[in-house]
Point group: C2
Chain length 427, copies 2
């Protein structure tokens, strides 16, 4: 029956979204797989993409707070758990969610297979707890995709060049997803989260915060570095360096979220001068004297402390680092014999926007606004597309709201849906 | 200083126990690693063995009921979870306990490393959920031992010849331990559990139950098959086939437990005619008609149902199988088109002892005892060293106590310590 030969080829429905060249990477964060009910929802979402004819790779985080619970177990055993063993321990959570999602997909009648980071060929360096992806050896993924299976890859983890299990650090599942999207030639990497996208400010703090339709990599980098935790900083860097288009969207709706792409991508980026106001209260500001900057930064890098803002005035060096790394940072400073003090009672508020490159008045507006609200910027740092002020922690929310209003961020077409949850939720 | 050269060689304290040729495998069950406090106790126990100069391999089960919780998650997702994915899921528990124990040992100043079943080179067949160990490729274990490290191996799991994660079935950590003891040339495999050893009957049922100092492999096999769950049946078979001496002992004391060795080992085995009375209530008895025995047993084997007792009278076949496998068994029987019935309200009581080979009166005593207590043995099966009776479930405890007394098992030197916990606890 030669006439039916062509009909036997399954019809591939083309997506109305930009062509993902047949392959999509879909990443779901911890809150999207918090319990078995939500994992079933995720499975149906992956299945729907497969049924539209796409090749589908899902990257899952661990269920809810399960990774935190593993860290708690480790701390019950040891005040400073051995890093290699800690990675063996905390990498199990993603394996659980992936295996459960694969079971659900198999029950839905789809071929599916879950892979650990190691099985998926995510090869990293040997920096346990903060490993960097060196290479993706995707043989097993390709084999599974070629036979039509949906592939679930455990996020946040890989295997080192010394054949040890490694993890990529907080939010590392985003990086896993972007690396896979790049290695597999996906045109889009969809990051599903518990909010509708990237907002002009934290909706918890600013009621009129608006969902952004698109931002550039650079803006997203500044937003991520400044406290908007919808995407992990490194994953945005990776996406920019490899030209992977990111689509940050809600696990709970089919609405378009926020696209993160190159400025020159042709996608309509925000025309506003300022994209958003980001903030974080998770950093400690250190003031150090008596140590050359190079020696200081090199020692902190060896200790894997992620230094953020760095300022230098005369002999004094001011830098910020995650409060979580406080113990390591203090130890490193002591070992250097530095004179130092720390202030953990500060918050960081950043005004981010590619438009400010050509608008020198932005800094003035920002400082006038803070001044009018009686808020003193204690440490200030700027980049071409960002102005960051450290203020007293108790004044952070007021500063964000005032700046959001001063730059008119809530005035453009307001988001049709109320933001669900928190723009700063961990992913 | 040539005179001190020899003193520099660390003194190896020889153990008072039979020489383990420098290497000991120590296996700890789920209740021994139920929380981080107990894991610290296990770590100190492993460290103490290392400090006596031994090369130490620890095999750990998952913490407490954590594997059961993973099975529950799987059932929330799927009524019949895909076996490959189920193994990916339920193999994480042992990885957690091993990583935590390794952290604890490192804090105690010992070198230590945790290995998954795959990393430890436990190669199995592809029967997910009930895999059999084919080979131990112990390169990584040897490397770690050679540098002086204590090696923690995740029990219950391996990697299949198709590079998939497999599990060995309930109690599989015992089998992991015995296989490693054999492959590494350990002369003893220590099985730490929450009871003091193997008892003449379940101490919960028979107050005067006595700890046995030593039993033969064959007796232990019959005891294990008959419901004494201190050791998994397969691990005893493996130990017998490879001549691995087992020492079943308490996690909570340094007392000698029960040695399981060859009858001809020279170790003083029990001289008593009967070693113990075992029982279980976890089996269902099936009566089947209209199917040739070979076809029936082959179909059940294909379905991985572990058939226990098999009897045949005229056209009727009677067999028992774990009640846990009830669904699979029923399906298999239906697919064969058999006429069948099942009785799950029975319990199995077994009298076990190598001595009965030369004492034909044992069976008579057993049946007289049951009869005198008004208990009817509904199905009976015997081996050279065992008599098994299926009785009504409600009569099991009375039957065990009556037989224990009839064979005078409580009369010999009573155990100095009260049994802690249950002889039938899962390991």
């Amino acid at each position: 029956m030669p006439a039916s030969e062509f009909e036997a080829v399954p019809a591939v429905e083309t997506d109305s979204k930009p062509s993902p060249a047949g392959l999509v990477v879909m990443k779901f964060g911890g809150s999207s797989v918090a319990d078995t009910e939500r994992i079933l929802i995720v499975a149906r979402r992956l299945a729907a993409a497969r049924e539209r004819g796409l090749r589908v790779v899902g990257v899952l985080s661990a269920m809810g707070d399960s990774t935190d619970e593993l860290f708690t177990l480790a701390r019950e055993i040891s005040p400073r758990p051995h890093e290699r063993e800690l990675d063996m321990l905390v990498s199990v959570g993603e394996r659980i969610s992936c295996a459960l999602a694969a079971m659900a997909l198999l029950d839905l009648g789809h071929d599916a297979v879950s892979l650990t980071g190691s099985q998926a060929g995510i090869v990293t360096d040997t920096a346990h707890g903060k490993a960097k992806i060196l290479e993706v050896r995707a043989r097993r993924i390709h084999e599974a995709l070629d036979r039509g299976a949906i592939v679930l890859v455990a996020g946040f983890q890989g295997v080192s060049t010394e054949a040890e299990v490694t993890t990529l650090g907080r939010g590392g599942s985003d990086t896993t997803a972007v690396a896979l999207a790049s290695a597999l030639g996906a045109e889009a990497c969809e990051i599903y989260t518990d909010v509708d996208g990237v907002f002009s400010a934290d909706p918890r703090v600013v009621r009129g915060a608006r969902k952004l339709d698109a931002v550039s990599y650079d803006e997203m980098l500044e937003l991520s570095a400044s406290g908007a935790r919808v995407l992990q900083l490194r994953s945005v860097e990776f996406a920019r360096n490899h030209g992977v288009a990111l689509h940050v969207r809600s696990s709970f709706s089919d609405d378009e979220g926020t696209w993160v792409t190159a400025e020159e991508s042709g996608r309509m980026l925000e025309k506003a001068m300022i994209s958003g106001i980001a903030h974080t209260v998770d950093e400690t500001v250190y003031r150090v004297e008596g140590i050359p900057a190079a020696a200081l930064l090199s020692a902190l890098a060896s200790s894997h402390v992620n230094v953020d803002t760095i300022l230098r005035v005369a002999d004094e060096i001011v830098f910020s680092a995650p409060s979580d790394d406080g113990e390591t940072t203090s130890r490193t400073l002591d070992e250097l014999g530095a004179r130092w003090s720390a202030d953990a009672d500060l918050g960081k508020v950043s005004v981010v926007g590619a438009g400010m490159k050509s608008h020198p008045g932005v800094a003035a507006t920002a400082f006038e606004t803070l001044d009018a609200n009686g808020i003193e910027p204690l440490v200030v740092s700027t980049s071409p597309i960002k102005i960051t002020c450290y203020v007293r922690r108790s004044e952070v929310d007021r500063a964000v709201a005032a700046l959001h209003e001063a730059f008119g961020l809530g005035e453009l077409a307001p988001s049709s849906s109320e933001p669900q949850g928190l723009a700063r939720g961990r992913t």
